[in-house]
């Protein structure tokens, strides 16, 4: 069991192994699965992730609600603008996965369905640019998974638990850890990358319009991917962050538990409860939800922990 980033680094260090191998050995020990089976399952996950991106980019039709679909293809087709090809590709990849998700396509919830676009967008955009092999991507997923396990144990990975900071924030932190590690960053740099990512997303609420995992989720996945790469780049350059990563994760958990239930995936606050948001919910036939939004009600306390994710 790894309960903190400090533990992870210390135990891997004393075993004389890397972060990826540590996570792999832990999984072998705790589930009884073989190393090969674990790696095959990760390869399968990567294949599903790639396919979800591809489908999202190619499919021009909209989701049943009409809120998403076709946007990632439009972005990719518009070509590079402000920061070059990779940047445009990464944004479109993130949105593409969420579009596939909204169409009831096959995705990997990494770590949740609502944040499923971040890790693939970052890894698949950078892999050809940085020359990472498929084998290295499997290792990167182990590092991402290790970071996700710690965040899930110490704080939350679900919007219903801690808002969007917990959902796309965790996905971005996982991606940042994976990239920093793959680029040969030290343990301290991996820690910094995660800390920088989470501090940049602290307090972000979860306010899905009409309760659907579409808007703002698709765009939040794109901005989370940017945050992940920015944080990895700063960490790899040796920039430091004075608050230890475990303490940053704890702050995220604390902010999440104090967050009003309207901002935790209940669709009763934030963008979801705006006049425009209510209109979209009404058009989607969610009359009961709209009534609650109009009342400004916080009913649905229970669903704060268990809403769509």
């Amino acid at each position: 069991m790894i309960r903190s980033f400090a533990d992870w680094f210390e135990q891997a260090g004393s075993d004389g192994i890397g972060l990826a191998e540590f996570v792999e050995r832990r999984e072998v020990k705790e589930t009884g699965a073989s190393r090969e089976a674990i790696r095959r399952r990760i390869e399968d996950a990567l294949a599903v992730m790639r396919q979800a991106v591809q489908e999202g980019l190619e499919e021009s039709g909209t989701s049943p609600s009409g809120l998403t679909g076709g946007r990632s293809g439009r972005l990719a087709g518009d070509g590079p603008r402000l920061l070059g090809e990779g940047f445009t590709a990464m944004l479109s990849h993130a949105i593409a996965t969420l579009e596939t998700n909204a169409r009831m396509g096959l995705i990997m919830a990494t770590p949740t369905a609502g944040a499923a676009g971040v890790v693939p967008a970052v890894l698949f955009t950078l892999a050809p640019v940085r020359g990472w092999s498929d084998e290295q991507l499997v290792d990167a997923m182990l590092v991402a998974g290790g970071a996700g396990i710690i965040i899930a144990e110490r704080a939350s990975i679900a919007g219903a638990g801690g808002g969007c900071q917990a959902e796309t924030g965790s996905a971005a932190a996982m991606a940042a850890a994976a990239v920093t590690w793959l680029e040969g960053g030290s343990d301290a740099q991996v820690a910094t990358a995660v800390a920088l990512t989470i501090q940049g997303m602290l307090g972000l609420i979860c306010d899905p319009v009409a309760g659907l995992v579409e808007i703002p989720c698709a765009y939040r996945n794109a901005s989370a991917a940017v945050n992940a790469v920015a944080s990895a780049e700063m960490a790899l350059a040796g920039l430091d962050f004075p608050i230890p990563v475990d303490e940053v994760v704890d702050v995220m958990g604390d902010v999440g538990t104090k967050m009003d239930v309207r901002f935790r995936e209940t669709a009763l606050g934030g963008l979801a409860a705006t006049p425009a948001g209510q209109e979209i919910a009404a058009r989607a036939g969610m009359t009961e939800l709209v009534q609650l939004q109009r009342k400004g009600s916080t009913r649905g306390e229970g669903s704060a922990r268990f809403g769509p994710s």
Binding site: V23, N101, M104, M108, A113, V213, G302
Partner: protein
């Protein structure tokens, strides 16, 4: 404990792990307990399942689960058409199970070849589920481990005899839960194991005079 594939997964058809993947799992487990696809199902949706389920394909996912599809099966999208074709009739209703019920709860009343069962369960997040009630008996089934569900005479030694038969085959019991309608009447047992219970063990148990009904619920990975 959080495992690696809780974080890197589940592999699922979108859009929501609780309202789609979890909903499908509930339907799947219900048909497994029934012993196959129902002819008819009346499904009561409570709370958030009823309120935002429409947009998450909750009904489609439950129908797909009742057809025996798992959460990563892309046939889920066309579940309604498949149900019509295969003669599975599903009716959805909104229900209010009270404020103590989990917001993503569903009550299933299913029938197959004359047999009827009522099952209550909920989707607790990340695609995970709990089955809480079978025909009025309190249970606690997750679907993440293989399980057998047995209705047997509530007499001394029943649990030991069942777990004994399982242990003889070298299978490890993970959890045992017993609920009964009244002293000396019938008890419902759910026994989760680390590996699937082979059909011949099930047949042997089914042949015991004190066993009234038994079902094998296979593991639901994904």
């Amino acid at each position: 404990m959080t495992t690696l594939f809780d974080i890197l997964g589940p592999r699922m058809v979108g859009p929501s792990s609780s309202h789609t993947a979890g909903a499908c799992r509930l339907g799947y487990v219900v048909q497994a307990i029934l012993g196959g696809m129902p002819d008819r199902a009346v499904v009561g949706l409570h709370g958030s399942f009823a309120m935002t389920g429409e947009g998450h394909g909750t009904r489609t996912a439950i129908t797909g689960g009742l057809l025996g599809h798992r959460p990563d099966d892309e046939r889920l999208r066309e579940a309604e058409a498949e149900a019509a074709e295969k003669g599975l009739e599903v009716e959805f209703r909104k229900v209010d199970l009270g404020s103590d019920a989990h917001p993503n709860s569903a009550v299933f009343e299913v029938a197959r070849a004359g047999e009827r069962i009522a099952i209550t369960g909920c989707s607790i997040g990340g695609g995970r589920i709990r089955v809480q009630e079978i025909d009025g008996f309190a249970v606690d089934l997750s679907g993440s481990l293989p399980a057998i569900v047995v209705v047997a005479d509530d007499v001394p030694g029943t649990v030991a005899r069942i777990t004994g038969l399982i242990a003889e085959r070298g299978l490890n019991v993970a959890t045992v839960r017993v609920d009964r309608t009244g002293r000396g009447e019938r008890a419902l047992m759910t026994i989760e194991t680390d590996e699937d219970v082979p059909d011949d063990v099930l047949a042997e148990l089914a042949g015991q005079s004190w066993v009234h009904w038994i079902r094998n619920v296979h593991q639901l990975n994904a």
